[in-house]
Subunit: 339 residues, 2 copies
């Protein structure tokens, strides 16, 4: 228990290097302001598969494949694949693990899964249990809509606070050794499940913002860091409305994050018409982290980020039974030494 | 990476102690041959809640509460709750984590979740990231039937190879320190996702047996142990049919496990009328391990077991789309020193 910095935060001793990342999206994501950064833009939402669920698997698998190639590691040398997705029984991740023939640790943290997998993957490496791990998540607009809301064929109108599930898969390869300038996962603050009683499943940003706030506050307290110690504080998919709620909640605690705070959900579709409160889904934070933020760290433009993906832990059944939306956020500090 | 014994197996260096376990079941499980060992037998399948889903949460939460009390640790001192269940978006585990106010790592490995959580929980302790963790899973006959098969109200007949989802929640508390005679998690072999092409969702034992065989064979190879080095080799819920398939698959590789092999699913309802191929579900292996096997280790009757819970990683959607059933098994060695 020598790696703890408080009740919820751990600090890695040996270094957990991010050696390669990959991102796969569809045309809608390409149209947004980050379009140029994604590794693969699919020709359409089926990508030559016969169902959207199969497409999502192909995206997941391909993201791991490309990230491994970039990291210079063969699949057979990866000790664990950690990941999950939004589909029931996380079939995108499980079927991908089968096809990739990798030892598999299935995770479910809804849209927080990318930071959950980086946190656990980091612990497996820093703890001496693995030299290489792959962390990956995915989501797909069409599979999520028909599972969580309505089949697309119905043309159901959107509420003003709704977010569009990102069609995207992101993967990061972590390694126990690397170069001095590689981005490294250095600290992680685990989330508790927070529930402010929000029941509107079309306003998940508001439900998740308190979880993000609680984790961020805990992180700053336990690490003795301030928001300005990070170049960027990044949440996964609070959306335009939820990210305003987060800023307000932080302000209430006298912590000002406005200057260096970004939300992947609010940013990914910025400027596109007909998209209400931005993007959401496991894939949202995963592709933005993999495509943009890690790349900018590798290029030396930014050197310290706090990636805090948030998840709404509801199910259609729990909503139908009148339950509120419990949420969680895990914070992962990623840092790079200077030149 | 100093804790590996081969490609898939890790050995803990510092000792991961099992300090307390708890199990909660319903009357059907009490009628089986292990009825006397469970901590709580619910009065009925609702246990004063208004829906079976809420009952399952109460079971999950109560199992963690009782296990913590037995371990002599306060909830606030538990660093992580690791676990999951069979319900979509693992709501039993997530809502329980909210009510228990514990940092939460959501896992999904279908019925393999108990060994997945012991494996990851063990790594978090042995890696120096936690002094106490809670590992828990649950399943409930009524919630699983209506989600995966048919609402109970329909009275749908069972196929000959079907298994009954165990109504049960099991929890184990792991700690970084303990007494010399406490059971300890010593080694873990992670599963790959194995798929022999079985498509019959009413015959999951047959689908999962190859995954159990592959993990067991890997474990014996990498640890240089033989089946007879264990007092018991225990699978989670292959059922009476699936466990025969496993013995045959092992025999094909010249490994004989018949003498000390038990399957929790085949055993839990043994002798009960109208239960076809035994029990299944996350809760099955969890309650048998927590109630019986760990207790027998604590009492000194057995001293070395290999707990290998298996999971069928299908979803109703993947089955409807004609997919086969990918499966996984993680093996966890639990040992106790002699008097």
């Amino acid at each position: 228990m020598d790696k703890r910095l408080g009740e919820r935060t751990v600090r890695f001793k040996n270094g957990v290097y991010i050696k390669g990342c990959a991102s796969i999206v569809e045309k809608t994501e390409e149209k947004g302001p980050f379009g140029e950064y994604f590794d693969v833009v699919m020709s359409d939402d089926l990508w030559e598969e016969e169902s959207w669920e199969k497409t999502e698997r192909k995206m997941f698998r391909t993201a791991v494949d490309i990230a491994s190639a970039k990291a210079g590691v063969e699949l057979k040398d990866i000790r664990y694949l950690l990941g999950g997705d939004l589909l029931n029984q996380i079939i995108s991740a499980s079927f991908s693990a089968r096809d990739l023939s990798l030892p598999f640790i299935g995770l479910y943290g809804a849209c927080s899964t990318m930071s959950e997998s980086l946190m656990i993957g980091g612990m497996l490496i820093d703890g001496g249990f693995a030299d290489w791990v792959a962390c990956a998540t995915s989501s797909h607009f069409a599979t999520a809509e028909r599972q969580y809301r309505f089949p697309l064929e119905l043309g159901t109108p959107k509420t003003p606070t709704s977010q569009r599930t990102v069609t995207g898969a992101g993967a990061c390869i972590l390694a126990e050794s690397g170069e001095r300038n590689d981005p490294k996962v250095t600290m992680c603050t685990a989330g508790k499940v927070i529930d402010f009683g929000v029941k509107d499943a079309n306003n998940m940003g508001a439900a998740m913002a308190p979880a993000a706030a609680e984790t961020l506050i805990t992180h700053f307290e336990e690490t003795d860091r301030k928001p300005e110690d990070y170049d960027m504080i990044i949440t996964g998919d609070l959306g335009t409305f939820g990210s305003e709620v987060l800023k307000d909640l932080m302000k209430d605690r006298n912590i000002r994050i406005d200057d260096n705070y970004r939300d992947c959900g609010a940013d990914i579709y910025r400027g596109l018409k007909d998209i209400k409160c931005g993007g959401s889904g496991c894939g949202c934070g995963a592709v933005m982290l993999s495509a943009y933020y890690i790349r900018k760290m590798m290029e030396g433009e930014i050197s310290r980020i706090l990636f805090t993906a948030t998840g709404a832990l509801l199910s259609p059944t729990s909503s139908q039974q009148g339950e509120s939306i419990p949420s969680i956020a895990h914070a992962v500090a990623i840092e790079r030494e200077g030149e």
